[in-house]
């Protein structure tokens, strides 16, 4: 979840007449989690579906609504202009076909605002921009650009001075030498030509989706901005633009339109959309009995507009709220505006009779039996390591099932057996008193044509007199008393077990597991100083 750092004092200025406490009490009811607080600073986690909350401007709009200071939808006031044309060449169609943009004028940019804008840009890139693959933004100093602009492609030998640099480099060099070049260069693939935005003086403005040119760098002296969004889908690019436009407007800028044409591109609309939802559905889903005016005022507190139409409510949704797909989303907006704290939980008696799954019941019985036999229940991860599962126990690793890119070396392989984990447990408890007797039931995995899962049961006993008879008695009695099953054992040799002290566990002529004394070499490798006996059987093939 993305995190944004805010200042209470700034928020108070933006929201209007509120106390710090009112703000901190209200934030969670906007769906924002306070991660940490330090005097005036507060770190807030927000949901990636609300990129408008990536700045304090967006959060202030939400707070104003919830606190009833300003309600209703935020309307973008975009002045129509012909001064900012962008022409798109068909060469970009195969790489990054769409560009959109807006001009924002007469704003005051201080360090705080600059910080917020950079933060917003990063979050938009990571979230809805899908790490810049889907869409990406460039924010420029408008006064350093001479329109019209051209969005086209260029060779990798084209030179310009990238952002945060003072020297001119070729695009190839930029892709190799800058951080963003290395991180996002792969989006451009291997094509010889790369997308570029150039102005009427042939200056490079931006190399989407990698980096802007240094010439248009935004500073605290910048008054007027040009924002461009490029992407692989027109609607997604406009969604991203709508967030930036809304934030800039609430930061005090006045918006002017850009005119885009060529290669299936057109000027952005940033229109509101309308969705209708029935009042009875709202009340049914929330378990409330709200009047139409109450529903409408709740929606307005969520910064939407709404009006009644028969038994339905027509909602007007600003462009930046593209997280709203349909009626259920609007019902959530009603709930938020109404106040989650005002929803009283109710409990309706159940019409159904609950029951445990038969598998859980059987396992519970087995647990009781094993505890009666003096065995302690252990729990190990099903995702374990090659060392535990195969190397330490000399088991056959030809049918290994691994996961990709695990962040933990101890969790890379799905277990095909429980016993090795129990052995590992015993080895980590050598300083504890004996006898040590443990058991575990759990899922084991096998791969043939496809992957299969079975439930297995394993027990282990370690003490100075541990012997085959003891562990066979445990297995025999647990199954006989627990489930009325009689098993036999048949001589077997297996690298985990001592020769002559190992047997297959046979049920109805079929092998369901293995039992025996653990090979002394393995015991030695584990530095366990007492003999260890154990077994493992498949429960899926016996009692389940």
């Amino acid at each position: 979840m993305p995190v944004v750092e805010l200042s209470y004092t700034r928020l108070q200025k933006l929201v209007g007449k509120v106390t710090k406490k009112q703000i901190s009490d209200s934030l969670p009811f906007l769906g924002l989690d306070i991660e940490s607080e330090n005097k005036d600073l507060v770190r807030i986690e927000y949901s990636p579906n609300r990129p408008d909350y990536s700045t304090d401007f967006g959060i202030a709009l939400g707070l104003q609504g919830l606190l009833g200071i300003k309600t209703g939808a935020i309307k973008l006031k975009i002045k129509k202009s012909n001064k900012y044309p962008i022409s798109v060449k068909s060469e970009v169609s195969k790489i990054r076909p769409f560009v959109t943009g807006i001009v924002a004028k007469n704003g005051n940019i201080d360090n705080k605002i600059l910080e917020q804008l950079i933060q917003m840009q990063e979050d938009l890139h990571m979230g809805i921009g899908r790490k810049r693959t889907k869409s990406s933004i460039g924010i420029h100093d408008l006064d350093k650009i001479s329109f019209p602009l051209t969005y086209t492609t260029t060779s990798r030998n084209t030179k310009f001075i990238p952002l945060k640099s003072t020297t001119e480099n070729t695009i190839s060099e930029i892709l190799e030498q800058t951080d963003t070049g290395r991180d996002y260069g792969h989006i451009l693939g291997n094509s010889a030509k790369v997308p570029i935005i150039i102005d009427s003086d042939d200056n490079v403005i931006s190399l989407p989706p990698i980096i802007n040119a240094a010439v248009t760098t935004v500073t605290t002296k910048t008054k007027n901005l040009f924002v461009e969004v490029t992407g692989i889908n027109k609607d997604d690019a406009e969604d991203m633009l709508s967030v930036v436009a809304t934030i800039l407007e609430s930061a005090g800028f006045t918006l002017e339109s850009v005119r885009i044409s060529g290669a299936k591109n057109s000027s952005p609309k940033l229109d509101q959309k309308k969705i209708s939802v029935s009042t009875s559905l709202i009340n049914q889903i929330l378990g409330l009995n709200l009047t139409t005016p109450k529903i409408i005022s709740s929606l307005k507190k969520s910064r939407l507009d709404a009006s009644p139409k028969g038994k339905a409510i027509i909602c007007t949704i600003p462009a930046y709220r593209f997280d709203i797909f349909g009626s259920m989303d609007l019902i959530e907006e009603v709930a938020l505006g109404y106040g989650i704290q005002n929803l009283e939980p109710t409990l309706t008696p159940s019409q159904t009779i609950g029951q445990m799954n038969p598998v859980s019941l059987q396992l519970k019985s087995l647990n009781q039996i094993m505890i009666g036999l003096g065995y302690l229940e252990a729990l190990n991860s099903s995702l374990t390591s090659k060392r535990v599962l195969y190397e330490m126990t000399n088991r056959d690793s030809s049918k290994i099932i691994s996961v990709l890119d695990s962040k933990s070396q101890e969790h890379t392989i799905l277990r095909d057996s429980i016993l090795p984990g129990l052995l590992e447990n015993i080895s980590r408890n050598i300083h504890e008193s004996y006898p040590q007797k443990m058991f575990e039931t759990g899922t084991v995995f096998a791969i043939d044509d496809s992957i299969s899962e079975k439930i297995a049961f394993s027990s282990i006993s370690a003490h100075k007199d541990a012997n085959f008879t003891e562990i066979k008695s445990i297995l025999q009695s647990s199954l006989k008393i627990g489930f009325g099953i009689t098993i036999e054992t048949k001589t077997l040799s297996h690298p985990t077990f001592e020769a002559g002290h190992c047997a297959a566990v046979i049920l109805n002529g079929k092998s369901i597991g293995i039992i025996g004394k653990i090979n002394s070499k393995i015991i030695e490798n584990y530095k366990i100083r007492v003999p260890v006996v154990g077994f493992e059987i498949s429960l899926s093939e016996s009692i389940l």
Binding site: G31, R130, G287, F325, I340, L373, L376, E377, A378
Partner: protein, 365 residues
């Protein structure tokens, strides 16, 4: 006329101890020792090999319950059990020091985490929920696509989810389910939906895949079901994160399926595990709308802790799968509750199988 038969008469006659006619029995010779007596003396405290013992005696001794232990080793040995060999002779009639310290004995027990799991399972059963189970390995289709999580969503990346190396599901769902789910993705998320992505096998990241599959197969008008089991996240293991943990997830389908009832079920559940100070906050999940999370107050840590998440399945989830009624869903991790219960600050403790802890943790908290 009385007839004397039976194994003991036969044995006595064979050994020439008695004289028996059709009318009477009389003693002829008194035996020097009883059968088996010699063998018993011979075994004594020792462990003997089978061939050192008189065969007849051994087989009759083995018939006596709990008397002779047969050690199944290739070279058979027999030993007397404790009850056979120990004769307790009290050598003092004096009093003992009843106030003296005695050693602790270790109790065999279920795992503390399992106790919490069982407790939670039982609470939901008594609230009218039935338990369903499903696989830990799932196709991406059921773990993600069916839950309206777009294929380019960050949660689906290798760095968050465990993908099985080189394993793809052959049959993931019915053709109709695949078509409708992919249509919903294309329409709402605007991207090229790829069936090969949906085939990739993952270790389930939640148990929701089990419940949604159940609902898609059964399409109930009225239901309360839950699923409980291990789920996986590709995280760095730390005191607060595990790669594998337990989750419970439940759903309610029916006419009473509304948000306040969903909150009511949560409140009732927390009450039963002893948590009464709770509140609800809005939150976001890709597959529910509205979505809430429960915050519970922990006295020991003196702070609010996030526990179960909940919501109503989005129509974008239910409609393509033919589920027409609203579905309430809630769920969360169990280790977190067990940590509160056992006062544990390091979640790894549950899977260390550290005997000193397992042998000393108090069973009922």
């Amino acid at each position: 006329m009385v007839l004397f038969f039976g194994p003991s008469i036969g044995l006595a006659r064979k050994n020439d101890w008695i004289e028996a006619s059709s009318e009477s029995v009389s003693i002829k010779n008194l035996p020097l020792e009883l059968p088996g007596e010699k063998t018993l003396k011979q075994i004594g405290e020792k462990k003997l090999s089978k061939d050192e013992i008189n065969d007849d005696d051994l087989s009759s001794l083995l018939k006596r319950p709990d008397f002779i232990v047969e050690d199944i080793v290739k070279t058979k040995e027999v030993t007397l059990t404790d009850s056979a060999k120990s004769i307790v002779i009290s050598d003092s009639s004096g009093e003992i020091d009843v106030e003296a310290k005695v050693p602790d004995v270790f109790v065999a027990r279920t795992h503390p985490l399992k106790d919490t799991i069982d407790e939670i399972r039982e609470i939901f059963v008594t609230l009218g929920f039935s338990e369903i189970i499903g696989n830990m390995t799932q196709s991406s289709f059921w773990n993600f696509d069916a839950l309206f999580t777009p294929q380019d969503h960050p949660a689906r990346e290798l760095q968050d989810t465990f993908y099985l190396d080189g394993i793809s599901a052959k049959k993931i769902a019915t053709p109709e389910q695949i078509r409708k789910v992919s249509d919903s993705h294309k329409k709402n998320w605007r991207y090229h939906w790829d069936i090969n992505e949906a085939r990739k096998m993952v270790l389930r990241t939640h148990t929701t895949c089990v419940t949604i599959k159940h609902l898609a197969e059964n399409k109930p008008d009225e239901a309360r079901v839950f699923s409980l089991g291990r789920v996986f996240r590709n995280e760095k293991v730390s005191y607060k994160h595990l790669v594998e943990f337990n989750q419970i997830e439940g759903v309610v389908v029916g006419k009473d399926a509304n948000l306040r009832n969903l909150m009511g079920i949560q409140r009732e559940f927390y009450k039963r595990i002893g948590i009464t100070k709770i509140k609800f906050w809005p939150t976001f999940f890709p597959y529910t709308e509205p979505s809430l999370q429960t915050m519970v107050y922990n006295e020991r840590l003196e702070k609010w802790i996030e526990l179960f998440g909940m919501g109503i399945f989005r129509p974008e989830v239910t409609k393509p799968l033919g589920i027409t009624k609203p579905v309430l869903a809630w769920g969360g991790g169990i280790e977190r509750i067990a940590m509160l219960k056992y006062g544990i600050d390091d979640v790894r403790e549950f899977y260390n199988n550290n005997l000193s802890w397992l042998r000393s943790a108090t069973k009922c908290q």
